[in-house]
């Protein structure tokens, strides 16, 4: 969850949306657009969990055992590979916090954020903002779903955990909204991102490695 909340594309699009909406419309309308953007963002993890659940359902009819050693070691290997890929490729190697996505896509997102007029535009923008990062996040949804459904020590129902997970994913956007409403602007946000770029790179890579280690340790212990 920490890895997903640390991704930079959705907050970047949100920051652009807030900036242009505040510049063109009233504070109330800008707030509404931000809210619908957040609702759009929230729909994507829900859809991804449903997709992951469907994939697991199909796998349950095959002879493939998802708790087998080979699957777990492959998962750990995948997480380590994603961690290395994140460190090397997530941010481009020049000034600013430009991401790995193509420039055309990035400019397209910025343009879409600047042209948002209605709540439905904001909702759709929120929904599609997380798609380019699925390379880094979809395996996490799948693994999280497997771990939650297979876990036997939790007193809380799985459905409640999933709902909490989905709500937690959008928490950075609420913090960002409060950050902007507290008097900070896009320039402050950009400077903060650029200042902490290296730290985030190391932090998220470490999280990927830790997650991989946790899967290995859980397999070894249990």
């Amino acid at each position: 969850m920490l890895i997903i909340t640390s991704m930079k594309l959705i907050p970047g699009v949100f920051a652009n949306l807030y900036h242009y909406a505040s510049g063109k419309y009233s504070a109330k309308k800008a707030g509404n657009l931000c809210l619908y953007f957040i609702l759009g963002v929230e729909l994507l993890p829900a859809l991804l969990f449903v997709t992951s659940n469907f994939l697991l359902y199909i796998l349950s009819y095959t002879s493939l055992d998802i708790t087998s050693d080979i699957i777990l070691w492959s998962t750990a290997g995948l997480l380590i590979a994603l961690g290395i890929a994140f460190f090397c490729f997530y941010f481009r190697h020049d000034k600013g916090t430009k991401l790995f996505i193509s420039r055309k896509t990035a400019l397209s997102f910025r343009k879409k954020a600047s042209l948002v007029e209605t709540n439905s535009d904001a909702f759709v923008l929120g929904l599609i903002s997380g798609i380019p990062e699925l390379l880094f996040t979809f395996p996490l949804y799948l693994i999280t779903l497997i771990e939650i459904t297979k876990s036997f020590v939790l007193p809380i129902p799985c459905s409640m955990i999933l709902i909490l997970f989905i709500l937690a994913i959008i928490s950075p956007l609420f913090f960002l909204y409060v950050y902007f409403r507290a008097g900070n602007n896009l320039a402050d946000f950009l400077r903060l991102r650029e200042k902490n770029k290296t730290f985030f790179r190391f932090f998220v890579t470490s999280l990927y490695f830790l997650f991989a280690l946790l899967i290995i340790l859980l397999k070894v212990i249990f």
């Binding site: 505040s22 916090t97 602007n185 896009l186």
Partner: protein, 79 residues
């Protein structure tokens, strides 16, 4: 290739200025002064790249408001 569209640049800068809570009156004044200064610098040029134009505008804007200049210069580097 496109023509230098002063109105579009002015509109963009006004939106950016409003977004970062610069009073509209003072924003209008320094945006006008910035664009006058930019036009003087471009007087002898028939063609200029977008990057050079952005750099010149950001440099002139920096004299009046550093945040606005920073946003204008780095708006393509957020995502």
């Amino acid at each position: 290739m496109e023509y230098f569209d002063e109105k579009q640049i002015k509109k963009t800068l006004k939106i950016d200025a409003k977004a970062i809570d610069i009073p509209s009156g003072s924003a209008d004044i320094f945006i006008e002064k910035t664009l006058e200064s930019v036009k003087k610098q471009l007087k002898n040029k028939t063609i200029i790249t977008n990057k050079d134009l952005e750099r010149i505008i950001a440099k002139e804007l920096k004299k009046y408001n550093t945040d606005l200049a920073y946003i204008y210069k780095n708006r393509d580097k957020i995502i």
